[in-house]
């Protein structure tokens, strides 16, 4: 057996009120892709932050090769050849792509001047490997989230690393970009780099990893050889039970049309969009990143002014000047950017969850704290949110648990029309199933639901009908009976005009 590239032993890390890591041991070998799995809040990111020099462990040791090391800062980790691609984007949006990639290590040529020629040449080489369309000089703030993620990934390729940590790198990537990423990982692997790969997506895990280690509640639960295990076993280890991840077959009684959109356009973001959603129906919107789905959702939520077209609720036209209007009409939106749009990070969990209805709940002039706590308790329970109490600051929750707070917030509104944009980005398998059930359950209760997702299994699993979009236009609408994966792929790549054979 080869010596480990990296070895962690008995790592303990506590935060006030939380024992995030409770004696975790873990190692990665050179040329190995090692998956780290666990539910939201299990401690994966925390463990990696310990390895990346961001957190100092309370107990435990870290070895690089044979050498015990202490890492006080990210700088130290980098110096030891440990590269870290963070779960949350960690970029300076005002700087260029090249400057971000080489942040902290800009090449110079005397008097502290940046050697821009070399910087751009080096960057271009890396960008070429990643097959992206933007150049080294592009401002990162002008890139889509997916491309920003690619910039993060590019950083790992600037040095010859001993190990690279990918913390949910694919959460916002398209399939094409994922393929590139997996190629990059294969290259690294071939060079003998040890890779730690965190993801909630089973198919990826089984496609690229060699071993799988599982954390649960901050404790190490075991390591499996990927080749010798299956999804059920991993799931079992992660959440202590098996899951049923089948395709949607149940159908509810459909009611009247709740929401209808006629000929809606918004500049060149999307054009001539028409569709209807009935009570009891889940309509999935599937397409590539940039297809314009989010913009439609934003329009329906009063955040954008359409240039043409009409929006009808229960048959009568409405004007939505702001999210407040939309909410008053019974529309809710779970936005795609949880940190930027979904949460007030410095606020506690309960207050975030009840924010849209704080006025409605109020008794007299005062906030109804009791009722708010009850609402929190309800979704705390049903969404299995991991946090010691409602008083916890949302910013301290793990990524997936933050997402659950956002979902709970909008479910709690009991909306007429619920729009969810990438609802399970970063959510663990167990909770994902839970959220899917919730969405189906809402439909069963007579709500109209729109699900925007870039994950085909998800769309297939929850939708009664699927709207496929390409480049700002609807290309085709499928019912759940007729839809096939191939037809869907065609429809979202602009190929659907060609008659299917």
């Amino acid at each position: 057996m080869t010596a480990a590239a990296l070895r962690l032993e008995n790592i303990v890390k506590t935060f006030p009120g939380v024992r995030a890591l409770d004696g975790v041991s873990f190692d990665v070998r050179p040329g190995e892709v090692h998956a780290l799995m666990g539910e939201n809040g299990a401690g994966k990111s925390t463990l990696m932050k310990v390895l990346g020099g961001i957190h100092q462990p309370n107990e435990g040791t870290i070895h690089v090769g044979e050498r015990p090391v202490v890492m006080q800062t990210p700088q130290d980790a980098k110096a030891l050849g440990i590269m870290f691609i963070h779960q949350e984007l960690s970029l300076a949006t005002e700087l260029s792509v090249a400057e971000n990639i080489y942040l902290g290590a800009l090449p110079t040529r005397g008097f502290g001047r940046v050697d821009r020629a070399r910087l751009h040449a080096d960057t271009q080489r890396i960008l070429d490997k990643l097959r992206v369309s933007f150049g080294p000089g592009t401002k990162v703030g002008d890139l889509s989230i997916a491309n920003q993620q690619m910039v993060e990934i590019a950083r790992a390729l600037t040095v010859d690393p001993v190990a690279v940590i990918f913390d949910e790198p694919t959460a916002s990537l398209t399939d094409a970009e994922k393929v590139v990423l997996f190629d990059v990982i294969a290259d690294l692997k071939a060079q003998g780099v040890g890779i730690i790969y965190i993801s909630h997506r089973m198919e990826e895990i089984f496609r690229i990893t060699d071993r799988i280690s599982v954390l649960r509640d901050g404790q190490y639960r075991g390591t499996l050889d990927t080749a010798e295990t299956d999804e059920d076993e991993v799931t079992q280890l992660m959440i202590g039970r098996a899951l049923d991840l089948s395709r949607n077959t149940s159908h509810h009684q459909l009611g009247d049309v709740a929401l209808e959109v006629q000929g809606l356009s918004c500049g060149r973001l999307y054009e001539d969009i028409s569709f209807a959603v009935r009570r009891g129906e889940v309509v999935g919107f599937y397409g590539l990143v940039g297809a314009g789905r989010t913009e439609i959702a934003e329009t329906l939520f009063g955040l954008r002014e359409p240039s043409k077209g009409r929006i009808l609720l229960d048959g009568s036209e409405v004007r939505l000047g702001s999210p407040a209007d939309a909410i008053a009409h019974g529309i809710s939106l779970v936005p795609e950017d949880r940190k930027g749009q979904g949460l007030v990070l410095g606020m506690n969990c309960r207050d975030n969850m009840t924010l849209p209805q704080v006025s409605d709940l109020a008794s007299g002039m005062l906030t109804a704290e009791g009722a708010e706590t009850d609402i929190f308790a309800r979704y705390h329970e049903s969404l299995d949110i991991r946090t010691p109490s409602w008083r916890q600051t949302v910013g301290n929750l793990s990524g997936g648990n933050q997402q659950k707070i956002v979902i709970g917030k909008w479910l709690a509104m009991k909306p007429k029309v619920l729009i969810v944009d990438e609802p399970t980005r970063g959510i663990d398998v167990g909770s994902k199933a839970e959220i899917h059930n919730l969405i189906r359950g809402l439909a069963a209760d007579g709500y109209a639901v729109i699900v925007i997702s870039s994950e085909m299994p998800e769309v297939l699993h929850v939708s009664d009908r699927i709207v496929a979009m390409f480049s700002g236009r609807i290309t085709r609408t499928f019912s759940s009976e007729e839809v096939t994966e191939d037809a869907l792929v065609q429809a979202i790549s602009g190929l659907s005009e060609k008659p299917a054979a």
């Binding site: 990346g52 961001i54 800062t73 990210p74 700088q75 980098k78 870290f84 963070h86 960690s90 970029l91 300076a92 949006t93 005002e94 700087l95 400057e99 971000n100 942040l103 902290g104 290590a105 800009l106 110079t108 008097f111 502290g112 001047r113 940046v114 821009r116 000089g137 592009t138 401002k139 703030g141 002008d142 950083r155 918004c266 500049g267 973001l269 934003e298 009063g302 955040l303 954008r304 002014e305 240039s307 702001s322």
Partner: protein, 333 residues
């Protein structure tokens, strides 16, 4: 053109457009309202404008760097005064008695060093305690002012050295000494901010401090250097100004921090850090000085000057915003 650079140009353009408006307005209004015959746009008057922009201008340029870095420095006015005291007082120190006019460079150096030290104190506290720069420097604004008063009680500190004054009043190629320092500072900082690692890191830290930390930048020392830089520039401003005026009141420089910040923000630098430009700040400084000068030129009285300066600051922001509206498809947040 890279995406975003057109909007950047428009944004930066707002301040220059405003300067043009000011020039036009005061030229025309001056025809009717001014009691003097010299034109507002007279070359000498414009050269004076540059010179008179130097004291706040040099400070504002340093403030730009600190604000891009995600910090702020409210103690610059007091630093300005303390550096001035050291400048003027040290020229009379007995140990330098034999030096004749050679005391001048020494006094300059001592004054500049004072600024650097005061800046370093702020920077060090920000770095080591993690207390927000706003509070640290708000406290220092008081504390450094206390030091100013300790030095010479309530008395002004004065020393008239005519060699120095003649140097400071000199004009080379038409530009006053102060103007050369102002323009030199613009040039140097522009180079530093755009072409050096330190400059680029300053943007990165202001933009996303955590990202900078994760990328291994030593954020603490970096910020401390910028505080030393603004301390240096506040002192340079004092050196330039008091070389010519020869006396400092312990109250001098009060409110300079606010004017400097105003100029910086008018130039489009974000209060939250991460973006901004020293050249645009230069525009902001000129715009303010032009306003003061122009209002005097057309004979506005004190009440009106206060009222108008206030409202015009707001108007510039409004103009700036109008130029930056992305159109009807903007997300309404």
């Amino acid at each position: 053109m890279q995406p975003g650079s057109l909007s950047t140009f428009l944004k930066r353009g707002a301040i220059w457009a405003f300067i043009a408006v000011e020039l036009a307005f005061f030229s025309v209004a001056g025809q009717y309202l001014s009691v003097t015959d010299t034109a507002f746009l007279d070359l000498d008057n414009m050269l004076l404008l540059l010179k008179q922009s130097a004291p706040i201008g040099i400070i504002a340029l340093g403030m730009t760097v600190v604000m891009i870095n995600g910090n702020i420095d409210l103690s610059v006015g007091a630093t300005f005064a303390l550096a001035a005291i050291v400048l003027l007082d040290s020229m009379t120190w007995p140990i330098f008695a034999g030096l004749g006019d050679w005391v001048i460079p020494i006094s300059w150096a001592l004054a500049l060093a004072t600024g650097v030290v005061l800046g370093a104190i702020n920077g060090f506290i920000v770095w080591k305690t993690g207390v927000d720069a706003f509070i640290v420097t708000l406290g220092a604004m008081l504390g450094y002012r206390g030091l100013v008063f300790m030095y010479n009680g309530e008395q002004p500190t004065s020393h008239l050295n005519w060699t120095l004054i003649d140097f400071a009043e000199a004009q080379v190629l038409g530009l006053h000494t102060a103007t050369w320092f102002l323009l030199g500072t613009v040039l140097v900082l522009w180079l530093v901010m755009n072409f050096t690692v330190h400059g680029r890191n300053a943007y990165a830290i202001g933009d996303n401090r955590e990202a900078a930390v994760n990328a291994g930048i030593r954020v603490g020392p970096h910020m401390m250097i910028n505080f030393m830089l603004i301390g240096f520039l506040a002192a340079l401003s004092a050196v330039v100004f008091y070389s010519e005026s020869g006396s400092v009141n312990p109250n001098d420089g009060t409110l300079y921090e606010l004017w400097a910040i105003t100029a910086v923000v008018l130039g489009g630098t974000k209060l939250t850090g991460g973006s901004g430009s020293v050249v645009a700040t230069f525009g902001g400084v000129i715009a303010i000085q032009l306003l003061r000068k122009g209002l005097g030129y057309i004979g506005a009285d004190t009440e009106t000057v206060n009222l108008v300066i206030g409202l015009i600051l707001i108007a510039v922001l409004f103009l700036d915003r109008q130029l930056n509206v992305k159109g009807r498809q903007e997300l309404r947040t």
